[in-house]
Amino acid sequence: MEWYLPVIWAALIGTAVALYVVLDGFDLGIGILFPFAEEERERDQMMNSVAPFWDGNETWLVLGGGGLWVAFPRAYAVIMPALYLPVICMLLALVFRGVAFEFRWIAHTSKGWWNFAFAAGSTLAAFSQGVILGGLIQGIAVEDGQFAGGAFDWATPFALLCGVGVVVGYALLGATWLVLKTDGTVAQRSRRQAEFLVLAVVALMAVVSLWTPLAVERVATRWFTLPNILFLWPVPLVTAFVAFAGWHWLRRGDDHGPFIAAIMLFLLGYAGLVISNFPYLVPPALTVWDTAAAPASQIFLLVGTLVLLPIIIGYFVFVFWIFRGKVREGEGYH
């Protein structure tokens, strides 16, 4: 039990973070693409396509952060101080883009300002998340179970590149979401943007995938030694195939395929990260077992999670189903 519980929790939190990345990814992506819309009614249409969902989507971030605290308090207590500035930066950016959803509809003269807040907030939040990811992968200085580094340890070219990667990736999710959920000029433009973004995402994924094992020996060992390499070589291949499929669907005019391909790309990248880093939660010092909460605490919340998570996913799906179909220009909820 002492061995399994932290693994189960790592899987649960991993699932929550994956869901967050995909779900909030597409609505942050819409913010990232906001400046490229030409007319106000196009922006209205873009925002309307995510307005009923964004709040629920963002809740997975709370579950990710809260879950980390519950299940791995010692990891939470190291990661947050170590990545203090990017974490706070992300939170402030989320404040701006979150209120923009409501303020924008009421504002008259300052509407442009909230367009900017929505776009800049979404982009900065995505960038910060990438930097947090990069900062984690490259490793955190730990002594006696406490963060022992400086305030800017995270600020490396690698982490900044990860930041760019997440921005571009979310933009792809957003663009393919718009292909799925809108029509007219917005859908057409999104399709063109997505074609470019697929290529950019693949390029960035390749760079990060090569850079990581070169910079971090632990990752190189994981991927390139026997027998691991025998099992792992299909991962990049499948990724390339999915990217091609997404690009092909975009060209062919398919509405659903591109979004599914974009999600698959994210999940594959995510799987790659898990393969590189498991069982470390705070590489290179702390594993899931080092940082686990008391078994009594992990079990207490696990029971509730196993009951509640399917219910939550159930009503999530239900709400997405209620608001199914395309959002047309001029069709608003407000």
């Binding site: 709040d55 879950g67 947050m80 701006f96 209120v99 919340l301």
Partner: protein, 466 residues
């Protein structure tokens, strides 16, 4: 420059949590109010309930968005600013927050979409269900958050191992000694806060001769709520105080600025607590008032601040004054409820200017009282973060003061902008008023003021008969 990281971390947390609590205090009550309006609309078929529900839903959306984004910040700040606390108390406080996310946050956030955007998309019953789900979610959320907060105020059912708290009995942890009082007090406070806002908006419209039916319904509902919940709050608060005396006597000593425990305590209507000299200046007091309230005996004794060394005392000034502010507002609300009820009974509720004018300005009172109350309970438990067990100074993260100072400045700027604009936009929505109304109001103050059907409907619905 030498920056005190403990003070900065506390300032930052105090700022972000004060900002945050404004919105839940409002949205807990408002979601329940909207759900009530929708239920009344379905049961009576009267359209003005529908217009009111739509109107308040717009305001709710703006407030809820601000509450959500500032709430996410808090989930992460435990780690960014209080990592040693998170590590030590994570085993116990963590799961309570986790349950809040799973049982409440998701429920609210998901059904909010249906509630805000489902007007023409889903059947009426489903829309009402979504509103009820959001209102229920907000109560469940308060339940877990207050359970967590109460546990660090009155920790029980734990065991210390290597400087970490380990849980022994989850039921006792959740229903810890101060929890039932704090939960009841906060929930009721949220409903009162909303009632004051609804009262103010209703009064504003009546005075301006706008939204005839809607304004009258709002006034009646708010007065009814205040007349019941405000006196109830006095009772809950009193019980909460007795509970605090039992578990955190020094907080009570600071609330009453009571220094010497060997003498009965006076109730100071005003005083300037002088912490350096351990006495009060400029006292205006009801002799033995505090002893009577707290021990029900004019000669009753309760611990004074000097019973512990200064390093273990809470800051007296903020606790003392915040308590008085909360108390004063509590009595104003009781008065508003009772006066309003009498005027309603006499049929003068809608043409008594000396009641309506102050009422139309009173929207902020509930918020001030809630913040003051939290200042009392949070400052009053200092210098402890887990009461009697872990000092606040030992709870902070190993983060340089400069980082905390920088982000504090950013929080002040960002929240300042968001808050100012939020208030401005909410005011704009209120100025615009409920939309889609049909008949314009008859003039206010006419003799033989007609008792409209809506008025009767409202009264019946309020009495619970629909």
């Amino acid at each position: 420059m030498d920056l005190d990281p403990v003070l900065l971390a506390r300032l930052q947390f105090a700022f972000t949590i004060t900002f945050h609590i404004i919105f839940p205090s409002f949205t807990i009550g408002l979601s329940a109010y909207i759900a009530t309006l929708l239920i009344m609309w379905i049961r009576t078929g009267r359209d003005h309930y529908h217009r009111l529900a739509r109107f308040w839903t717009k305001i709710f959306a703006v407030s809820f968005a601000m509450g959500v984004v500032s709430g996410i910040v808090l989930t992460y700040q435990f780690g960014t600013n209080w990592s040693r606390f998170s590590e030590a108390a994570g085993n116990i406080v963590g799961p309570l927050i986790g349950y809040e996310v799973l049982t409440a946050f998701f429920l609210e956030a998901t059904f909010l979409g249906v509630m805000l955007f489902g007007w023409n998309r889903v059947p009426r019953w489903l829309h009402v269900f979504a509103a009820i789900a959001v209102a229920t979610g907000s109560v469940i959320s308060a339940f877990w958050i207050l359970a967590a907060n109460s546990w660090i105020q009155t920790p029980v059912a734990y065991e210390m191992r290597d400087g970490t708290f380990h849980p022994l009995d989850w039921f006792r942890i959740i229903f810890n000694p101060s929890f039932p009082y704090r939960f009841a007090h906060m929930l009721n406070a949220a409903y009162l806060t909303t009632a004051m806002v609804v009262l103010a908006v209703g009064a504003r419209y009546v005075l301006a001769d706008r939204h005839y039916e809607e304004a009258r319904t709002m006034l009646r509902m708010a007065v009814l709520m205040l007349a019941i919940a405000a006196p109830l709050q006095l009772f809950i608060g009193d019980q909460h105080g007795l509970n605090t005396l039992q578990h955190q006597p020094l907080k009570i000593a600071a609330m009453e600025a009571h220094w010497d425990g060997s003498k009965p305590g006076d109730f100071h209507i005003f005083a300037w607590p002088d912490e350096a000299n351990e006495r009060n200046r400029f006292e205006i007091s009801i002799p033995r008032g505090a002893s009577i309230v707290l021990t029900h005996d004019p000669n009753g004794l309760f611990p004074g601040l000097t019973s512990v060394p200064p390093s273990e005392r809470p800051p007296v000034l903020p606790v003392f004054f915040a308590f008085r502010i909360m108390l004063a507002i509590g009595f104003i609300m009781i008065a508003a409820g009772l006066v309003g009820a009498v005027l309603w009974w006499r049929g003068r509720l809608f043409d008594t200017d000396w009641f309506l004018r102050p009422a139309s300005w009173a929207w902020s009172l509930g918020f001030i009282a809630v913040i003051a109350g939290w200042v009392v309970t949070e400052s009053g438990r200092q210098p402890w973060v887990v009461y009697g067990l872990m000092r606040t100074a030992d709870a902070i993260s190993p983060v340089p003061g400069a980082s905390v100072a920088t982000t504090l400045a950013l929080f002040v700027v960002v929240y300042g902008i968001v808050f100012a604009m939020g208030i401005y936009y909410i005011n704009r929505l209120i100025v615009r008023g409920p939309q889609g109304g049909g008949i314009e109001p008859p003039q206010r103050g006419l003799p033989n003021r007609p008792i409209t059907g809506a008025e009767e409907g409202g009264r019946e619905a309020l009495a619970g008969r629909g």
